[in-house]
Structures are given as structure tokens and as C-alpha cells.
């Protein structure tokens, strides 16, 4: 019925062969000089910290990104630098499962199967798709009980993840030969994850290949035949899995060359006050403390911060003495008012604090903004000009001023240094330390290790829970990595 043009298990040529691959986004180099061959029958585990380049590598392999430099050969074919790598990857039987689920929630399971299967025969496609999904689901997750005619939106997160994996392994005109699994087990429970791992082994034994990305080192050691360790957009280790141990793998990932000389200086001398914050998940903070939230991106840190902020502020009234203020990291989504001037953006949080009546005290507003303009050195001649006329770093300074101008004792910062230049970062570190010494408490989520090293206490998050609490000299990159994985 379905014609197989590429059979599984041809072992001579690599399915994908990368040589000297580099990817740049403007001045940012996401990948440099990456070389990687994947032969049929291999299961390659890819590990690395946030921003190590894992996702970029995956997107080069499945053709969603074109490499800026270097060669990508699919099935040993000639490499061409054009935009058709996506099609080549599909022809070679490369399929992907992403961490953020990519199913259409308004369609049924079988309709979601139809989407990646572009040239599916028209006749009775619903029946064929339903049986194909059924077969694949039963093969990967025996006893799952998911009906292909159900709408994806009604499934649980785990069931959606199972459906997405099953679709990736399903039978089409071109067989799956290399399946990329990006954190596939993050929402599956133990026994289901074991079923997946068992299926991956069977699939590889039959000649298929898998790229397995996970922060669960146990799983990677279980299935991978080869390990690829990435850091700063490079592959720094690429060897058979049995040559690594858990510790040697963590060591290989870690250790950004630390100019650790000045970090942590501020930490030791300070006296901390009473506890001012305690949350249900165990997060605590004391007066004048800088508390870091670490761990891999997307493990519940941002949610914890939002919860902390929303619990302590109201939808219904603004407080003249707010308990907490928020510094956004995703400026466009959470911070900047794009139609407004710098002045209005800066004063938004504190309007009720400096105005005595229901009217805005415009004199006080001007004075407040002029003070912060001077203090934090926002690069503009005219605070009446649009906020969008500023660079990202200067917009961030405005958002910092907006929060710090308030009298709130707790400042929540959601990865505020995203896309900010080094000079601004140094200024902000200094300001945060000054303010903490005056008795303010900071909750600071950051994906960058050197920012976490500035903190007095660090909570490492894993799977939306606190996996470790580090204080004093225990705050090291190595300890954070150990707790994150």
C-alpha cells in the first residue's frame, strides 16, 4: 500500500554528515565548527548546558535552519547551501520531536499525523492514518489506550507527548531513519519513559538512528551508544558512551573559564536581616539578600517568580507601599509600553507612590525621571522621546529604574539581562548590590552562571521543584550543574 523508497537499515553511508558547520544570528555565534556524522543504528546522546547550542544543532540537522558556513550532507549526497535542506532531511527520513509540543490542539490525533505526511494517498486517508497511529502507538507505548479519533486538546500533557513521539516513529512513504528526540521524557512518568527507552533500543538495533537530548543523565546512559557534549556552540567531546561516567560528563559540560576573582566578594561581608519571604515550594528569602534561581531554562523558575509577584500584588487595587515589584526580562512581552515615552514608561510603577491625589503629580514625575536618568545613565538627551528609540540595554535600564524607584522591599527579576551588553550588566550588578545593602531583597532568575554567582543563596530548580539550595562557598557552577541534571 505504502511504497518504501528509503529502507531502514542501510548501514554504509551516514544519514547526516556535518562538516565545519557554523550558524550566526547577526553577531551572535550559535554554532561554530561543528562536525558530526550519524550512522544508521546509532543512538547519540547530546548533553550541554542552557545555550550550549543543542537546539541549533538539531535545527540544522532537520533543515529548519540553514548553516551560515560548512557542509551538511544528507545520505551522502552533494551538499548545497540553499533553503531546501528541510526537504532533503525529510527525504532522508529525518523526523523531530520537540520539547515544546508541536501538535495542533484543535485537531484529532490522526489529523495531526496527516500534517507531516505530506503526500499521503487521498483514498480513505482517515482510516489509514488512524491505523498507522494506532500501530505506532502500540509499538512504542504498549497498552496506552489512546484513541486516534480523539481531539488532541482533550489529551493530558503526557498523552500528547506520547502521540507526538508515536507520530515521529510512524510508517509513511519514507521510513523514519533518524528520529531527533528533544527532551522527550520531560512530561512522561517513569514506566512510560522506560517503554520509550526500550523502543529506542529496538529501533536502533533494527538500523534506525536516534538523537536523544535530555537532562536526565540516567536515561542518556541507558540508551546512548555515543555521547556528544556541547558547550558554547561547539562540540567539545564526542565519544562512545561507555568511556564516560556521570561525573566526567558533568565535568565536561561545566567550567566556563571563570574570572571568579571578584565574584562573591560582596557576599561574605554582609549581614542579613529577618526572613521576609517564604513560598509554598520552599523558596525563602531574608531582608537584604540576593537570592538566585538557577537550573535549566523552563524548569519552573519563571512560574515561581510570577507566582511570587501575583500573590503579593492585586488585580483590583494599587498599593502606595507595594510589597513587591517586577523587572521583566522579556521586554516586549512583560515590560515595555511601546507607544509611550521613556518618562511615562519609567514612572508607571510608582504613579500612586509619588502622587498625592488621583491626578498624576507631573512635577514629581519629572524629578523622579531626571534623578534616574542621571543615576543609571540612560543614554538619551530627551526623556520625552519614545522608549523604542533606545537600545535594548537602555530599555532594560528604564525597566530597572521603574522597579527600583519604588519603595517595595522585594524585587523580582525574571532573567533581566537577556540581550544586554557587558557594560550595562556591570552597572546593574553594582546597583543590585547597593540596593541589597540598603535592605532590599532580590529574587533573581538567570540562565547565566556568572550572574548566579553574584547571589547570596541559590535555589536550583528541576522539574518545577527546588532540587537544591546552595549557600556561601557551595555556590559554584559545578554544584549547580550537578543539581540541574
Amino acid at each position: 500500500m505504502v511504497v518504501n523508497r528509503k529502507e531502514i537499515g542501510t548501514r554504509e553511508v551516514p544519514i547526516i554528515s556535518l562538516a565545519g558547520i557554523g550558524v550566526s544570528f547577526g553577531p551572535v555565534r550559535a554554532l561554530s565548527d561543528v562536525a558530526l556524522n550519524i550512522m544508521p543504528g546509532e543512538c547519540v546522546g547530546v548533553v550541554g548546558h542552557n545555550g550550549a547550542g543543542k537546539s541549533t544543532l538539531v535545527n540544522v540537522i532537520n533543515g529548519r535552519l540553514s548553516p551560515t558556513t560548512g557542509e551538511a550532507r544528507y545520505d551522502g549526497a552533494e551538499s548545497k547551501a540553499d533553503f531546501r535542506n528541510g526537504q532533503r532531511a525529510r527525504q532522508a527520513g529525518i523526523r523531530s520531536v520537540f520539547q515544546e509540543l508541536s501538535l495542533c490542539p484543535n485537531l484529532t490525533v490522526l489529523e495531526n499525523m496527516r500534517i507531516p505526511y505530506r503526500n499521503m494517498p487521498w483514498r480513505n486517508w482517515r482510516g489509514n492514518a488512524a491505523s498507522a497511529v494506532r500501530v505506532s502507538l502500540d509499538a512504542v507505548f504498549p497498552g496506552n489506550g489512546i484513541d486516534p479519533y480523539r481531539v488532541v486538546g482533550d489529551l493530558s500533557i503526557a498523552e500528547r507527548q506520547m502521540v507526538e513521539i508515536a507520530i515521529a516513529f510512524s510508517r509513511r512513504d519514507i521510513d523514519a531513519r533518524l528520529v531527533i528526540l528533544d527532551e522527550p521524557t520531560s512530561s512522561l512518568d517513569g514506566s512510560i519513559a522506560d517503554q520509550l527507552l526500550a523502543y529506542i533500543k529496538k529501533f536502533c538495533a533494527a538500523g534506525g538512528a536516534v538523537i536523544f537530548i535530555s537532562h536526565m543523565l540516567g536515561e542518556i546512559f541507558d540508551v546512548a551508544t555515543r555521547m556528544v557534549v556541547m558547550k558554547d556552540g561547539r562540540i567539545i567531546a564526542n565519544d562512545a558512551a561507555h568511556t564516560f561516567t556521570r561525573d566526567s560528563l558533568v565535568d565536561a559540560m561545566g567550567h566556563v573559564v571563570a574570572d571568579g576573582a571578584d565574584s562573591g566578594d560582596g557576599r561574605k561581608q554582609r549581614e542579613l536581616g529577618d526572613e521576609v519571604l517564604r513560598m509554598a515550594n520552599g523558596l525563602t528569602a531574608r531582608k537584604g539578600e540576593i537570592v538566585g534561581l538557577a537550573g535549566l531554562a523552563g524548569h519552573g523558575q519563571a512560574e515561581a517568580l510570577a507566582q511570587c509577584y501575583l500573590e503579593r500584588s492585586s488585580d483590583w487595587r494599587a498599593n502606595r507601599a507595594p510589597a513587591v515589584v517586577f523587572v521583566a526580562g522579556d521586554r516586549a512581552r512583560d515590560g515595555v509600553m511601546p507607544l509611550w515615552s521613556i518618562l511615562r514608561n519609567l514612572s508607571l510603577q510608582t504613579l500612586v507612590e509619588f502622587s498625592r491625589s488621583f491626578l498624576v503629580d507631573r512635577k514629581a514625575e519629572k524629578k523622579l525621571v531626571a534623578d534616574w536618568h542621571r543615576k543609571i545613565k540612560i543614554k538619551t538627551d530627551d526623556v520625552e522621546s519614545s522608549i523604542l528609540s533606545l537600545s535594548g540595554g537602555n530599555q532594560q535600564k528604564v525597566l530597572f529604574s521603574r522597579a527600583l524607584a519604588s519603595s517595595a522591599p522585594i524585587v523580582v527579576m525574571d532573567d533581566p539581562m537577556r540581550g544586554v551588553d557587558v557594560g550595562t550588566k556591570k552597572e546593574v550588578y553594582r546597583m543590585v548590590r547597593d540596593e541589597a545593602e540598603k535592605g532590599r531583597t532580590f529574587l533573581w532568575y538567570s540562565t547565566e552562571t556568572d550572574e548566579i554567582l553574584e547571589c547570596d543563596r541559590v535555589f536550583v530548580f528541576r522539574d518545577s521543584e527546588i532540587a537544591a539550595e546552595l549557600t556561601g562557598d557551595d555556590i559554584t557552577e559545578e554544584n549547580m550543574l550537578r543539581a540541574s541534571f
Binding site: S313, D315, W316, Q349, S355, F358, V360
Partner: protein, 332 residues
């Protein structure tokens, strides 16, 4: 030397300042358009100054009702995409009928009647907001659904009777002071208050912030739910008040008195230069747009064109204003 430079630059600076003003204040265009239609309408007529005077008087009288409901709608539209109050006509009708029935042409009951009209507006606003916040129904659908409800209540309470307003009230609503219609004076008072709220008050900043980015506003300390509450209830109160005023003006409430204000209230917001994407609104433009809409009708009437043409033109004008406004945003 410097003196000479100044002299040479003076006219240029003036022109520059004028251009700056025009480009910053979108509502100036609406005033220019209103003036142009006024001139065009006059050219069709034969009378002289007297006719011009009476046309202007009528324009200000009828524009004032549009202005009051338009201001309410403007605050709602400012809250951002998807926010619009379609229950304005029904709220006007309900407030007008209930208040006039209560007053029963008795001059002593004017103040309680006014309070009842405002109370009806308050109730309608609370109901709308309840649907939007508690039931999480999109504002367009919620206000459309509730408008059927309000209209039905109005039909039930009125039963087709037309009760005359108290004589003193009718005289006030149709009369004028110092050559200016009383209705226009009332609308002017409402406009000044609205301008203060929008441009000078803290709540105005909050409304504008919520309209640009609700999530960011919430994280910036704005009590967004309270802002939405105030705006929806305020809009319905203005609609109720307009219903009272309009019923007094036109000699009694009838069941379709609000109908044309559905389109009008939205049209004046758009033509007045407020952004339909939210977060950027102005009060002066509402006046210009309301005058323009009335003068457009008079002009078409004096050229002998019918209601169909008028509706087509209104639609075309709204579409072209939205297109032009969005183009301008894109360039910046």
C-alpha cells in the same frame, strides 16, 4: 548676525511647528474634514449667514449626544484589541424608557429620574463586566448578548407607550444658553472631565498602559481588573445618561432611539484619531468626528442624496481612516 538668522528662521519654524502639530495630533485632520464638509454643505445651500448659523447650531446639538457615548466607547476601545461595547444603544433605550416612565411628565421628579437613568447605566455596566470577567466571554459577544437582554427589558417596561418628558426638562434639553445648545454644554462638561481622566489622572495612565500590553501593565503594578471594571461601567453610565438626555430632547423615549449610535459611537472613535489597536486615544477628536458625521449627512441631504449613499460613505470613510492610520503606524 543672530538677529538676521532669527528673522529668516521665524516663518520656517512656524511652518515646522505646524507640521509637527499636525503629525502629532491626529485629530486635527478630523477638524479639517469637518470644516471642509461644512463649507461644502453651505455651497449647496442658498442662504447666507443665518443658514450657516442654524446649521452649526443643529450640528452642535446632535453631535453632543454622539460625543457623550463616543467618549464612553473611546475608553473601552483604548483597553486594546477585542474591547468594544456593543450594548450602548440598548443601554440608552433602557435608561431612557425607564427614567421617563418613572418621571411620568412630573417636573418635580427630574433629579430622581436622572439618578435612575444613571443607575440603569450602572446596572448594565456591571452586568456586562460580570459576563466579561466572571464568565470569561469575549467583550464583543458579551455586550451584544446583553444588549438583547436590555432591549427586551426596555420593550417589556415600555410596551410601546411614548411618555412625554417633564416640560422643564424638555425645554432645557432643546434650548440654549448664550446661543450655544444646552446639550452641547453638557457634552462639553463631560469632555473636559474625560480629558482630565485620560491625560492627567493616574487611572488614565493605567487605561493607556492596559491597552498597550495588559500583561506588562499587570507586572508594572497596574490593577488591570479594576481598570477594566471602571471603563466598562463608566461607558454604560455615559450611555444611560445620553439615553436620558436624548429622550428628553426628542419628546419621549422610543424603542429604536439608540440604533444609530451603535455605528456612530465606534465611528467617532476611529475618525477622531484614536487607535483601534488600543493604548492611544484622544478626546478632542471625538468632537471633530461627531461634527463631521452630522455635517456629512447634511451635506449629502442638501445635494439631494439619500440614506443609502450616506451609509456607504460612512463605511468607506471608516475603512479608509483605519487603513491610513495603520499605514502611519507601520512607517514609524
Amino acid at each position: 548676525m543672530t538677529v538676521e538668522n532669527n528673522v529668516q528662521n521665524a516663518p520656517q519654524n512656524g511652518v515646522k511647528a505646524l507640521f509637527g502639530l499636525v503629525s502629532r495630533k491626529a485629530w486635527i485632520w478630523a477638524y479639517l474634514a469637518a470644516a471642509a464638509t461644512f463649507i461644502a454643505a453651505m455651497m449647496a445651500g442658498s442662504g447666507g449667514g443665518a443658514e450657516a448659523g442654524s446649521l452649526l447650531y443643529a450640528a452642535f446639538t446632535f453631535a453632543s449626544f454622539t460625543v457623550i457615548v463616543g467618549i464612553g466607547q473611546m475608553f473601552v476601545v483604548t483597553l486594546g484589541p477585542g474591547n468594544v461595547d456593543l450594548s450602548i444603544p440598548a443601554t440608552m433605550t433602557l435608561a431612557g424608557t425607564v427614567a421617563l416612565k418613572f418621571m411620568a411628565s412630573d417636573g418635580a421628579l427630574v433629579v430622581p429620574g436622572l439618578l435612575i437613568a444613571i443607575g440603569v447605566g450602572l446596572g448594565c455596566g456591571l452586568f456586562n463586566f460580570g459576563l466579561i470577567l466572571l464568565m470569561r466571554i469575549p467583550p464583543i459577544i458579551a455586550s451584544l448578548a446583553s444588549s438583547f437582554l436590555f432591549q427586551s427589558v426596555a420593550i417589556w417596561s415600555n410596551r410601546g407607550l411614548r411618555i412625554k418628558p417633564p416640560e422643564g426638562l424638555a425645554d432645557f434639553a432643546t434650548g440654549g444658553t448664550l446661543g450655544i445648545p444646552n446639550a452641547a454644554l453638557v457634552a462639553l462638561g463631560v469632555s473636559v472631565l474625560a480629558w482630565i481622566v485620560l491625560e492627567r489622572a493616574i487611572i488614565g495612565r493605567w487605561i493607556l498602559a492596559s491597552g498597550q500590553n495588559k500583561r506588562a501593565a499587570r507586572l508594572g503594578g497596574v490593577p488591570v481588573t479594576a481598570v477594566h471594571f471602571g471603563v466598562y461601567v463608566g461607558c454604560a453610565v455615559l450611555a444611560g445618561f445620553t439615553g436620558f438626555l436624548l429622550a428628553s430632547f426628542s419628546g419621549g423615549a422610543n424603542l429604536n432611539m439608540g440604533t444609530e449610535y451603535m455605528l456612530m459611537s465606534i465611528a467617532v472613535v476611529v475618525i477622531g484619531g484614536s487607535s483601534i489597536a488600543g493604548g492611544n486615544s484622544n478626546v478632542p477628536g471625538i468632537w471633530a468626528a461627531a461634527l463631521f458625521m452630522f455635517l456629512l449627512v447634511s451635506m449629502l441631504n442638501s445635494y439631494g442624496l439619500g440614506a443609502g449613499v450616506r451609509l456607504i460613505l460612512t463605511g468607506l470613510i471608516i475603512v479608509s481612516v483605519v487603513v491610513l492610520a495603520s499605514k502611519k503606524r507601520g512607517r514609524v
